[in-house]
Amino acid sequence: MGTTLLKIISKVPDCEAVAVIRYPRSLPLVLGLCESVVATEGRTDLLADAFSTCDAVIDVSNGPASEIPSSALQLAQSCQKAGVKRLVFTSSASAQSVKRTPYSLNRPPSYYGRQKLRAEGVLLGRLTKTELAVIRPGLIWGPRSSWTIRHVTEIAGGAVTAPSSDSKYASTPNLAFSENLAAKMLGWALSEALGGSYYFADPWWSSWEDYFLSFAAALEMPQSAVVVARKFHPGPPSRLLFEFLSNHPEVARRSKTVFNTLPEPAIDAIKAVLRPPTPPPVPSPQTLMASSPSGPTVVDTGRFSLADIDVFCRWAEPAPQLGGDPRPLQVEKEQALQTTVSWLSSGGHLDYLGIGLDRS
């Protein structure tokens, strides 16, 4: 995301960027694009120094979920100290509070989302002189995105991870094309608009099925290669436990300590109980392409549980416009898809997945 942003900034007249990175190992990403500063974790003075010449700061940092609130605190202190006028903070759509079951709390469903929400709170509470825009994007996709590689791999592998349009789980996917998101964040940073919290999502997709079908079409693959499910597997105990532990890292740490003290037969018995069952079969990509019906392949039950599906869109309408930046999206749907496919092709991903080979 940071690289995309820097490339866009390099094309804006009278606008210069300083890339502030946490570790020297991130330097290859920014070398040659702009001036760079390494502000090692915990050095608020280095961050403040780096910010002191800047009119606006756009935070697109990406680190361990456990460190998100403390990084936000450091960011807030540095912005205050340097007198930064405007800060754009990249939060996440998963920071939205939802009530997943009648019995669960109304809060962000994942640990990552809760940490992002805490970070938002830290910034809102600490910043008094800096105008703050909190952006909650959906899954950021496009060139260099790991989500994009995952999605094209799912299409190529006939994997069921998305609900069909007639499923009761169908919803608008909150995907955000990276170049559009970067352009919007930069637009706000360069404007005089008041701060606020904004969701950001592509306005193009009516459902996950629609997104995957459009992606498959851009890849010149038959629609039948997209496999979607009406229902989802409830999830084996191991999956549910894994989800619980990944959302409660402190419990996970303590459980591991206790687990390691158990006698070996007890450990083996627990592992046997948690071993995931064999998932229901899905057709192979070759079978799907050979049959070539006109629509996607819909199966009754997905191989995965609902928890495996990428973030759902929970707000009624995606809101791609940020306050103070009325400009249209930088890139429209077809161009976004084509840019992504070109990147996948030039990077060898399509050949690797056999998509290019089968197409020829």
Binding site: P24, L27, P28, L31, G32, R144, G347, G348
Partner: protein, 326 residues
């Protein structure tokens, strides 16, 4: 029991070799007599790991001790100088890859009559898949007409502490010598000598290459190699030929896939029957993970034969191929 000194106490020691060294120390096969690093905190940290290792600022101090070998894990630009100093004291030397930052730097080493005492650690030679391909590729594909595709990429993740690794004037070696050297070594180890052509690189006068494309031409075929420190690339090795294809997927250390021409499905072949050195009583003869590879590599260095370790001639040969192709 072999007593050695370690030169360079940074990330290579901590992340690649430490576990293997500890295992051999526990088995009573190895003693680390000295750890050498110009940075006091780094050598002090390493001396605690390998007690009773003596922390030394200079190699000369360590060479006066009762040792028979030296592990060189310092930055690549210092390798040749350190190796020559160790050889002058009659030491056996294990050097982490690459042998040097450039081919020209290896001349003085090649001229040294003791250079056969030097082994270069190309750790991926220890993977079962590598040995399997070296022994069996002839029977799986048509080696007179093949095409290889290899790519490896993703954000750089080695825990360096300064930007010097990316500056050419500071001895940074870039993605080709850091990451690509493994591929170049493996392919020439498996298929024999090749001519190299550098297709593209983003190297500048100040900064090292972060992205590069290379082509290798073997007598029977070609290899297209893509390397990146910035972009995710699909990792893995694929060999296509008239008879069929071979695929080594990402992270597969013991499994190779093969399919004959016209077949859609890949067949899984086990590559995990490669025997490791047994002279240490080392019972784990397979290489199911990178830690095992480091252990196999170090065991071979301490053992009576070179095994799969690269010689100076082989390591310099890869650098020469790069030098000619660039």
């Amino acid at each position: 029991m072999t007593r050695i000194a370690i030169v360079g106490c940074g990330a290579a020691l901590e992340l690649v070799h430490r576990a293997a060294i500890d295992r051999l120390r526990r088995s009573g096969s190895l003693v680390i007599a000295a750890v050498v690093d110009p940075d006091a905190s780094m050598r002090s940290r390493a001396s605690h790991w390998f007690e009773p290792a003596v922390p030394c600022r200079d190699l000369a101090d360590a060479l006066k001790m009762d040792i028979s070998g030296v592990m060189v894990l310092s930055p690549p630009s210092s390798h040749v100088e350190v190796i020559l100093e160790a050889l002058s004291y009659g030491m056996d030397v294990f050097c982490e890859k690459p042998l040097a930052g450039e081919f020209a730097a290896t001349n003085s080493l090649m001229e040294n009559p003791e250079c056969q005492r030097v082994s270069v650690g190309m750790i991926r030679r220890q993977f079962d898949t590598s040995s399997f391909l070296r022994s069996n590729l002839n029977s799986l594909i048509d080696v007179s007409d093949f095409r290889i595709q290899y790519s490896e990429g993703g954000p750089y993740s080695w825990p360096i502490v300064s930007e010097l690794s990316f500056r050419r004037d500071a001895g940074g070696v870039g993605v080709i010598l850091d990451t690509g050297i493994h591929t170049l070594d493996l392919l020439t180890w498996i298929l024999g000598p090749a001519d190299l052509r550098l297709e593209s690189t983003d190297e500048t006068s100040a900064t090292v290459a972060r992205n590069a494309s290379l082509n290798l031409e073997f007598p029977g075929g070609t290899a297209s190699i893509r390397l990146s420190w910035t972009d995710p690339l699909p990792p893995g090795l694929r060999v296509e030929s008239r008879l069929g294809s071979v695929w080594v997927p990402p992270g597969a250390l013991s499994v190779v896939f093969q399919r004959s021409k016209g077949e859609k499905q890949w067949r899984k072949l086990s590559a995990g029957d490669t025997a490791g050195p047994s002279w240490l009583g080392y019972h784990q003869h397979r290489c199911p993970n990178p830690e095992s590879a480091a252990l196999l590599q170090l065991s071979e260095f301490l053992g009576p034969s070179r095994g799969r370790l690269a010689s100076v001639e082989e390591a310099a040969g890869v650098l020469e191929m790069l030098d000619r192709g660039s």
